[in-house]
Symmetry: C2
């Protein structure tokens, strides 16, 4: 009747951009990510009460974010054959300060906590599919360390599973550039509707994913890095071809990419990526992470993350969200 | 037996990027440009001597640039049925300081001076075609004010001609970013060979050109500006999708684009474009040019250009290049 789950953000090496089905949240192509070991979302779901409630970081949530959570609970209840309301209490570690979106960790934690509280015993694949319905990339945050999200063709076949990859670090650099002007969801729709290159995006991403999987299987960090930066540039280039042009990267973001290229020229293997916003994330071998962080510190606050756990249940009692 | 011609650079509003024929220099799509009234190339061709010579800015030119000029003279001689060598003396105004490539003005001036010296009486269309063989975009610098380069399907049908457009100014901002790492020619080949989006580039550029021609005919400066910035972003986005990614714009170039967007937010209609390098060129109505130049001056030296003349012959005697 009560469960607490913890989940972390993930950062994609092959990006997710564009849905083939808005309702089921089926992506146009597969993607591949690392789950981080920093910045947790901790969520407790307790059955009972008169109606659903959602408390986020100590305050009752309202509006769009609350109704998304309540619709998600409806989905879990329909799987469990239950009509009992639930209280959702969630806490994000430093949600804005880390420059990482909280939707992936948020819905991964909610999927595990809610499905457990309602008595569902989901397989890892079912859990990933459920999280996907809350926020697409959340399906990858249910997976330990590195995850491949298979695009699939329907609800059953679109899920994330673990893939082996060499140990690495992600250095997140927060570029201060004000609030994001266009959400990822709206950016994806604008891209679909106005970019002349969108038709080539899905097939080229599937090809990039195949190459990335091969590089992970070969344990080839250099190749993984090159493919990571290549695909990130392609995603950001794609958004710049919308009408009007949509650019998530700030001038300082490009300067950070230049600094990463300079690190490589100096013999430190680092590669850059960025989600739909100005923050830049470098990947490096573990031993190089501090040097990379030092080089990026002139552009903003940096954090180093290692491969982390997928969503997991808190030990008895101790894990209740504040 | 001697002729002097003057020509100016041009900046495209719809960009030329990619050839369908390397030898004939046939582009994959049409383009549209403004010929500037600043930064002249002045070239004198004098028949006679033992062999071809090329003097550029007072120094005997050697290597690749000289052999390109001599091959161009061969083409002119074959049209004229002549075997007489020629001395080419050319002078570029501040060739590097203005941040504008000199190949377009250079081959437009050479095409007119050489064809005149060898006694050819070319039509405007023939002159444009001849200039194209030296450097693709040179075919546009033979045209007064605004030029459409029809892509064509062979040597005869690929040429530039004048189009009416509203009076405007171009504000060239020199972004100091070191020498260009990859030439336009090599960048075009890399794009053709490695960008997954290249197949969509030519058809989308032809559609953009149709819309730009309609905007010019309607005298709609706002629409011209929006299409200019849209197409520039698409060209630069396209190069960023090569393997490895090729980015001509520097962080400060993006900052200049952001400053241009801020001018618009403040009610000054300016729009940005950029050729294959870090320099940014804003277009504005004539009355706004000084204000735009002031806003861009923090990113580099600025120059204001108005629509200028296509390649023309110097008045008798007075025009000999230094």
């Amino acid at each position: 009747m009560r469960a607490t789950a913890i989940a972390h953000p993930n950062i994609a090496l092959i990006k997710y951009w564009g849905k083939r089905d808005e309702d089921l949240i089926l992506p146009v192509a597969g993607s591949l990510s690392m789950t981080l070991d920093t910045v947790a979302t901790r969520t407790t779901v307790t059955l009972g009460g008169e109606r659903d409630t959602f408390t986020l970081n100590g305050e009752a949530a309202q509006g769009g974010s609350a109704s998304k959570v309540f619709r998600f609970l409806d989905r879990v209840r329909s799987l469990a054959g239950s009509h009992t309301p639930a209280a959702v209490v969630s806490h994000n570690d430093a949600p804005t300060a880390a420059g990482l979106a909280s939707s992936a960790s948020g819905f991964a934690a909610l999927a595990l906590a809610a499905s457990t509280a309602y008595g569902l015993e989901l397989t890892p694949r079912e859990l990933s599919r459920l999280a996907r319905r809350g926020s697409g990339s959340a399906c990858r945050s249910t997976v330990d360390r590195f995850a491949v999200w298979h695009a699939g063709t329907d609800d059953e076949t679109s899920y994330a599973e673990q893939i082996d990859a060499p140990d690495m670090r992600m250095i997140v650099c927060e570029i201060n550039a004000g609030p994001k002007a266009v959400s990822s969801r709206d950016g994806m729709l604008l891209t679909r509707d106005t970019s002349p290159f969108y038709t080539e995006w899905a097939p080229s991403t599937e090809r990039a994913l195949e190459r990335m999987i091969a590089a992970c299987q070969a344990g080839d960090f250099t190749r993984i890095g090159e493919l990571t930066e290549l695909h990130a540039m392609r995603m950001h280039a794609l958004t710049m071809t919308t009408e009007p042009p949509l650019r998530y990267l700030a001038p300082a973001s490009f300067a950070a990419f230049d600094a990463i290229a300079k690190l490589r020229a100096d013999g430190v293997e680092a590669y850059g990526t960025a989600d739909a916003g100005p923050n830049v994330v470098a990947i490096s071998r573990p031993a190089d992470a501090e040097r990379v962080a030092a080089a990026l510190s002139e552009f903003g606050k940096t954090h180093i993350a290692a491969p982390g756990r997928g969503a997991y249940l808190a030990a008895d009692g101790s894990g209740e969200a504040a």
